[in-house]
């Protein structure tokens, strides 16, 4: 009896002491006083959330590379208001609670005033909530859920929201009256629903008929059943917002099932998705708003080139690059490193992005980036990867109501 108590008591003491030492030691290290303005030439930290596991893990390393390239080129030109940028990358695992706790740690522990990144709306939503009162952190992110950007005013978008995407797709389909029947296939989660709803809204009043609407599960190993259904329906055009790795599964399984002979495929076909495909869907009509370097001929697009053709054209790298550029330019325009000033400066501002000069609409914090559209062609000598040719760039300002 006594021996057991003895062991137990020793353990408690040991555990308790160990825990206290650990926490006390690290606690002491970071109870710094809150910083006021940045000292001259001091590094400016930007927290970057990457989803290295989970749904968009396929692109997250490209996002990070793009962001790091922006930091590199900005620092080479003297930094933002003379402050060199420092990127702190964390994995949010595409999970809101991990994303929020990493964001909080960056804000409270590392005292960052600027955040960027994540590719899922769920994480974007919860981080956007965090950067509202009282944190006052400026957050630039590329997610499609419009509700992420309403509310605080501290969150800025680098890609179009699902509403704009769907409206644009509807306009495109309506511009092709020879397509009498339309099938819609999208992913079974918020993005898919939002895009489809916006598409349907845009198609209201058109004589073209939407004959079917499917929501396929994301990450499924087989889309064959859905493809068979489409092939049987033979719609004139199929509008697809299946994205990321699911597009690869879809296209791979669509070929032997004869989908491309049964219908014209139209949909989101990012370069980062069609490039890894052994056999890209040549002839499909694709669009993308992710800034692949070869689509645009701007000073900033050239800065992506050192990443190598594959990464520079993945689109994700361009988005990561844009996110950091937006923050840096906001600082320059505000002539201040304080988030409240930067946020006011960015709202309604015109910023330089990979795509060129783009306007951030003040009423929504959404940026009117162009959507690149065109038929898919295979690798050529000039561009050794699947891409669109010829390319039409659509100005999305017309879809903004304010």
């Amino acid at each position: 009896m006594v021996g057991r108590y003895g062991v137990g008591a020793r353990r408690v003491l040991a555990c308790g002491l160990a825990v206290m030492v650990v926490i006390g030691g690290v606690g002491c290290g970071s109870s710094k006083a809150k910083e006021g303005g940045l000292a001259k030439g001091a590094p400016l930290k930007i927290g970057y959330l990457a989803s290295l596991t989970g749904f968009c893990s396929g692109f997250s390393q490209d996002y990070v590379k793009g962001a790091q390239q922006a930091v590199k080129t900005i620092n080479a030109e003297g930094g933002a208001l003379g402050h060199p940028l420092q990127l702190l990358v964390r994995d949010d695992k595409a999970e809101p609670n991990v994303g929020v706790s990493q964001a909080r740690d960056l804000v409270l522990g590392e005292h960052v005033k600027f955040l960027a990144g994540t590719c899922t709306s769920a994480v974007g939503k919860s981080v956007a909530r965090l950067v509202a009162n009282p944190s006052h952190v400026v957050y630039t992110v590329g997610v499609a859920d419009p509700t992420v950007f309403t509310g605080s005013g501290y969150t800025f978008a680098t890609i179009p929201t699902a509403n704009i995407e769907g409206a644009n797709a509807a306009a495109y389909v309506r511009a092709h009256p020879q397509w009498k029947t339309v099938a819609v296939i999208s992913e079974d989660y918020s993005y898919g629903y939002e895009v489809t709803a916006a598409f349907r809204k845009g198609m209201k009043g058109s004589p073209q008929k939407i004959v079917s609407q499917e929501f396929v599960p994301s990450g499924a190993p087989s889309y064959s059943s859905y493809i068979n259904k489409l092939v049987a329906e033979k719609p004139d055009v199929t509008y697809s917002t299946v994205i990321a790795e699911d597009t690869i599964t879809f296209v791979k399984q669509a070929f032997p099932l004869g989908l491309f002979k049964a219908t014209q495929l139209f949909g989101i076909l990012d370069y980062g998705t069609i490039d890894p495909m052994p056999k890209p869907p040549v002839g499909a009509l694709g669009y993308t708003y992710y800034p692949s370097a070869s689509i645009y001929n701007t000073p900033l697009s050239k800065k992506l080139d050192p990443l190598g053709t594959e990464v520079a054209n993945s689109g994700a790298a361009g988005d990561g690059f844009n996110q950091i550029e937006m923050i840096a330019q906001g600082i320059e325009q505000a002539k201040s490193t304080e988030p409240t000033a930067v946020r006011s400066a960015l709202s309604g501002a015109t910023v330089q992005m990979v795509q060129g000069s783009e306007k951030i609409h003040g009423c929504s914090n959404l940026t009117a980036v162009p959507i690149a559209m065109g038929p898919v062609v295979g690798p050529t000598k000039a561009l050794p990867f699947a891409h669109f040719s010829p390319i039409e760039l659509v100005d999305t300002n017309k879809y903004f109501t304010c």
């Binding site: 408690v12 308790g16 206290m20 964390r90 994995d91 909080r104 740690d105 769920a122 509700t147």
Partner: protein
Amino acid sequence: MRSVGRRLGPFADWGPGLGLLLVAAALPTLVSSEYVLLGASMIVTMLVGLSFNLLFGYAGMFSFGQATFYGVGAYVTVLLINRGGFDFFTALIAGMVAAMLVAGVSGAVLVRLEPIAFIMLTFALADLFEFAAGHARGLTGGDSGTIVSLPDSLNIIVGVDRVYYVILGVAVAVLAVAFAFVKASTGLVLRGIREDALRARTLGIAVERRRLGVFVLAAAVAAAGGGLSVLSTQIVYPSVFAWQVSANALIVTLIGGVGLFSGPMLGAVVLGLIDFYVGRLTTNTLLVDGLVLLAVVLVAPSGVGATGRGSLLAAPGAFVRRVRSMARDARADPAG
């Protein structure tokens, strides 16, 4: 006095937990805000772990679906606050009650099943809830989740310490109830059922009823965790039902020590510290997490809080014995 001592059980069972609670009570005075937030999330993890330990460590029921009740607690709390205008504490209690109802109804079937069926069907139940939460977009906000609208007094970013103490206070209350339960005769009866259900039955014990009872209690504990998590993350989303939550409950219990009351508490602290520092150190958290977990399992296979065989203190002796037995195995194996 002696009977109380016997009731409380060995010091190693609840001692470390008590020590951790004392540290937790003093935490905001010891460390800065980001660590207090970490402490808050450790407390939540601990509750789900406790919920799993009650079933697995005490009653021998391996549930892979405590996420169901965690999620029900979280969603009911948020929905009642956002749409019903309830205050947090009422919503939290309602969430626990809702979870207990779900446990009661599903448990009536589940506790009669044999172990593997129980594992898989508790898992399937959680997945069903995740599916429903993701698809009932009008009600739950779908897969991008719903932000909870909390008053400033409960906004963890505005008042880190205050909200931390709320979380700690509720957790202590839950712990006390759970502790009383396992130390009371009910808890001992459950252990008898775990050891040999057939024998328990011949003694006239209503095995299914007891199992259902602990299943419902564990659901309430998990739901408390879920409701408190709402204070910590300020958002609820379908992955609160994900199997990773149930897996975490398992992991913290195993790290800390199965069947030990302090087990989930120790495990939550260890896992929380690992995740926190690994997340700061690298973006390949999978690899480092795996290495650390492997190290923990190899060094303290019965859990960090265990005593005797398989414990931390026994590790060196165990290592020596293993090297010897590996050498022996390299020859023929007489004893199997």
